[in-house]
Symmetry: C2
Subunit: 365 residues, 2 copies
DNA sequence: CTGAAAGCGCTAACAT
DNA sequence: ATGTTAGCGCTTTCAG
């Protein structure tokens, strides 16, 4: 058994090799080849480019595949072809429906070229992001999608070294790693402020989470910053901007925060929550305290979550089309993995819009 | 170049082989071996069992790894070791926070043994479930976690053929494919009915989605069935049990459905929604219509979602510890991939509990 | 249209 | 403690 058999006989040797293994092994391409009396290459072709195979052969092979329940091993295939056929997506959380929308949009587009999407999440933790990244890189994704514009330096370095296309989503970085598809969270904040100011309010507050080391919602923070800047531009005070609690924000976060704000400044007229989730919490806490929304307090959120449309009054919010964002990112990714398209870094802004509903009214002037 | 070099010189031949390739190639284990003057096996050992390598050698190798930014290729490693190091999880949707909890619980446990979790979702579509499954199987997960007890026959067959451990979660199948960790959705329905009946109500309704071919929420359906059976057992009518709209249920689904029910039977006293989401929709629609909850209508949900605690009145619901469920499934999976543990099919019931809050009151008797 | 050779990057199982 | 051999299951490349 140690005498090397001339290589041109290798495929014929299969029977000998397999005979030693225990019966219930998973079928390989060899088994299919043997059963249908062709070479492994022909089986491979039936799977990847069936048209070049003679119909008769093709059917024989197809039958063998079906009979054996053969499922090709993609890992082995990737190793040989140097194409793993998947793209990685790193999200802060699975629970946010806007991020799910992104995943949906991406999946739809990537499916066109048979790419799989591998989803990982970080719980808003940059250290965890790096851990996930390192892990993912070892599986050789053909491209990587990252959420947000803020990452650990060392994570960015491994990314650069890995020489894999990178797309950042959901925020437009000033210094993108490579490409980006998103919107300006800073502009979201400014837009929200402008909207409330345009309604004639003067005592305007905001609610966000506080940064806690690696655990933070940088996109939310961007939004409050934009909000504050716009207030200042209009000569209004930012005293009622509250950063409290740890990311991610939640219903409860909104309830607690508005309680604090209401106690501190009972004359507050309007408030912007960096997420609809906390905005809903605000509205619910107001219901409990008998604070009329929008009669006494106008409330505005961000994200256009389903629940915002459902509550009473329905929530005025800022909408970003995350599904379209995912699709747009998907298109870009397909170009990148195809090697088509510019080398130049693409920055795509999907924009945003104000959705006016009942939770904001005109100020009494 | 066609004269075969004696095999014991193969590793020494590396330089020649690599010289032809373009410079900026990703570093392989060979590059590391060459740079640190050891064999590839030693590099491999530094990565997998560092203790058996001499400290001096280990450090030389570690330096080379760092200098080259070497990231081992897991796909190649799996091929050789026959261990892919990941487990697949198929969820109906990413948007449901209870399923996210399951993913969290699983991740926590699997991480202990360095297993990755690969998450896929189906949008409650059994055809899509099968598609995902086929796809996943080609990547050779070491185990597969499926949601629910209902699957396409052909999907189950490929699963059986693939000879990969399977765990079904979130429902306890009568005929499990193999193992299951979950709770009885049927019992959820019965428990809800018993709770409402125990409060003295007679005119009791329910709200669920309607099956639509492959797109359906079998677990929700199980819950209404249990609910109906319990009503019958108590001699109550099931006329107010409404199946309407397509899965998954939503806030809006609840609003619409309760509207229908209220119009049809204004004297309805209590209603069970198969999900907190639709239950919240019910409460919101009641607010709009001026129907007092729980004064005129008692409302009960399932799932113990955050929003239920936040609304006014807070929602009475049925709670299942999905995080623990995920962890429990994780433990089972680790046993399965380790080959430890029984061959026998394990069925683990994580139970359920009623969470009494303000949306259900005592009937006026 | 089909096949043989060669090898992807790694590790199990033996050497030494 | 480290190295060598052989090959995981597939595809690329080139020959016929």
């Amino acid at each position: 058994m140690n005498s090397r058999i001339p290589s041109r006989e290798r495929d014929k040797e299969d029977d000998l090799q397999r005979k030693r293994s225990k019966p219930p092994q998973r079928a390989t391409i060899r088994d299919v080849a043997r059963l249908s009396g062709v070479s492994r290459m022909t089986v491979s072709r039936v799977l990847s480019e069936p048209d070049v195979v003679l119909p008769a052969t093709r059917e024989r092979v197809a039958k063998a595949i079906a009979d054996l329940g053969y499922v090709p091993d993609k890992a082995a295939g990737s190793l040989a072809s140097r194409r793993t056929g998947f793209i990685a997506l790193i999200l802060p959380t699975l629970t946010n429906s806007n991020f799910s929308m992104v995943a949906h949009g991406l999946t739809e587009i990537l499916r066109e070229r048979d790419y799989d999407l591998l989803i990982a999440y970080t719980d808003y933790d940059l250290a965890e992001e790096e851990r996930q990244l390192t892990n993912l890189l070892a599986r050789r994704p053909e491209a990587i999608v990252l959420t947000g514009a803020t990452h650990r330096r060392s994570a960015v370095l491994s990314l650069l070294r890995a020489d894999v296309p990178v797309v950042e989503i959901a925020d437009l970085p000033n210094q993108p790693i490579e490409h980006a598809v998103g919107f300006s969270n800073y502009e979201v904040g400014r837009t929200a402020a402008r909207h409330l100011i345009s309604k004639g309010f003067k005592r305007i507050g905001a609610i966000a989470s506080k940064n806690d080391g690696d655990i933070c919602d940088h996109r939310g923070e961007e939004r409050v910053c934009g909000f504050e800047d716009e207030l200042r531009l209009s000569g209004l005070s930012t005293d009622l901007v509250l950063r409290n609690g740890r990311a991610p924000v939640s219903y409860e976060h909104g309830s607690t925060a508005i309680g604090l704000l209401l106690d501190r400044a009972p004359d507050i007229e309007a408030v912007f929550a960096v997420s609809d989730l906390s905005a809903v919490g605000v509205v619910m806490e107001c219901q409990r305290r008998g604070v009329d929304v929008p009669g006494r307090l106008s409330v505005m959120g961000f994200g256009n979550f389903d629940i915002g449309r459902e509550i009473n009054p329905p929530l005025t919010t800022i909408h970003v089309d995350f599904h379209a964002l995912g699709q747009r990112a998907g298109r870009l990714l397909l170009e990148l993995v195809a090697g088509t398209g510019e080398d130049a870094s693409e920055i795509i802004d999907v924009g945003l819009s104000v959705v006016e509903r009942g939770s904001v009214r005109e100020a009494n002037v």
